[in-house]
């Protein structure tokens, strides 16, 4: 299912733990409560994000398509048209305003997508992105990572509760900054911070 080579190592990380995520909360706290903001979260919908965002005048796009995206494979970049059709169906951003998204929450999903799939996803979003759009993601920096993406929940203490269900580790794509700039183009890394669990937290912007 997931285009990663399994390695013979049992996941050592705790199944559920709390972590700081300074860049994410920096972005969230910088949102203007008097302005209307639009967020996209591909993960299965959860109450915590909704609760957190209830203080804002906001529109949350929650297509809940993470697992469907994980089933997409295009290691050689040969199926871009097909991918485009899938994204149109999975992530129907109906707004007719061409630049609407303020924050894209990808969590750790990019680690699990083929690079051409990730690029096609970014291309699908481009009509809804402007220079103020922020993309947030966690990238695994160690050689291995859990075989499935985690679930991430915002807590009231401004930390993130991480829930991992994977029993095994797989090799990680080990994105370095220049490769990220290429795969996420036209987004470029704006800020990065190494977290205690070995993941690198990134903020990317288009400018």
């Amino acid at each position: 299912m997931i285009p990663m080579r399994a390695v013979n190592s049992v996941a050592e990380q705790e199944a559920c733990y709390r972590m700081n995520s300074p860049l994410l909360f920096g972005v969230l706290q910088a949102l203007d409560p008097d302005s209307r903001v639009e967020l996209l979260d591909l993960a299965p919908s959860n109450a915590n994000l909704l609760d957190y965002c209830s203080q804002y005048h906001c529109k949350l796009h929650l297509p809940g398509c993470r697992d469907e995206l994980l089933r997409l494979h295009d290691t050689e970049g040969e199926n871009q048209t097909l991918l485009s059709d899938v994204f149109k169906r999975c992530i129907p951003l109906h707004s007719r305003d061409p630049h609407t998204l303020d924050l894209l929450l990808l969590w750790d999903l990019p680690n699990y997508l083929d690079k051409p799939v990730l690029s096609a996803f970014i291309a699908h979003l481009m009509p809804y992105v402007d220079s103020g759009t922020v993309l947030h993601t966690y990238i695994h920096t160690r050689q291995t990572m859990p075989e499935y993406p985690g679930n991430y929940r915002l807590t009231q203490e401004n930390t993130v509760m991480v829930e991992m269900s994977a029993a095994w580790n797989v090799s990680s794509p080990a994105y370095y900054q220049e490769l990220m700039n290429k795969v996420f183009a036209p987004f470029r890394v704006d800020r990065g911070m190494l977290l205690a669990n070995g993941m690198q937290e990134y903020i990317l912007r288009t400018k």
């Binding site: 302005s35 919908s45 209830s54 804002y56 929650l62 809940g64 109906h94």
Partner: protein, 170 residues
């Protein structure tokens, strides 16, 4: 257009205890589960009922069956119970989803999706509650500063076919 008042009147008449001609005077036939409780002013669409069309009215509504079309109960509450399946846009004061909804919802006060709820569609409401285990795919627009709001322009647009663009206000 299906008028809930008419449904209530019809059902109330049907529910009045009636006397069979060859029965003793004190014998009455009773419904075990009344469809309508006039005291609570809540109507119910039973589990075996299927409605295709527009539902409107001036009382609360519990949907246990299937509804396809539109549901407009402004100022009143709509509950889609565990067995309820709705393929319709809904406008109501408070919308509680315990069953399945495919369509857009505008809650004047709030929308609650219970843990058994399954929603595909877009929601506009000042407050939206998603219980753990609830399944939701779509978009949620919250406007916490507008108490007692009427349907926002974007939602009204969505309900009428989406001709107007959703624009940032700032």
């Amino acid at each position: 257009m299906i008028d809930m008042k008419q449904i209530k009147e019809n059902v109330s008449n049907r529910m009045k205890p009636h006397q069979a001609p060859d029965m003793p005077a004190d014998f009455t036939v009773r419904e075990s589960k009344p469809l309508v409780s006039a005291r609570e002013s809540t109507a119910a669409i039973g589990a075996s009922i299927r409605i295709k069309g527009d539902v409107s009215g001036d009382e609360n509504l519990i949907i246990q069956g299937h509804v396809e079309g539109t549901i407009k109960l402004q100022g009143h509450n709509v509950t889609i119970s565990n067995t309820g399946k709705v393929n319709a846009n809904i406008v109501a004061n408070q919308i509680i989803v315990e069953g399945e909804v495919q369509g857009d919802m505008i809650g004047e006060e709030k929308v609650i999706i219970r843990e058994t709820g399954n929603v595909y569609g877009n929601i506009v409401a000042p407050r939206v509650t998603l219980e753990d285990g609830a399944m939701f795919k779509g978009s949620i627009e919250m406007e916490p500063h507008q108490k007692g709001m009427t349907a926002p322009k974007s939602a009204a647009s969505a309900m009428s076919g989406g001709d107007n663009p959703v624009r940032k206000t700032a």
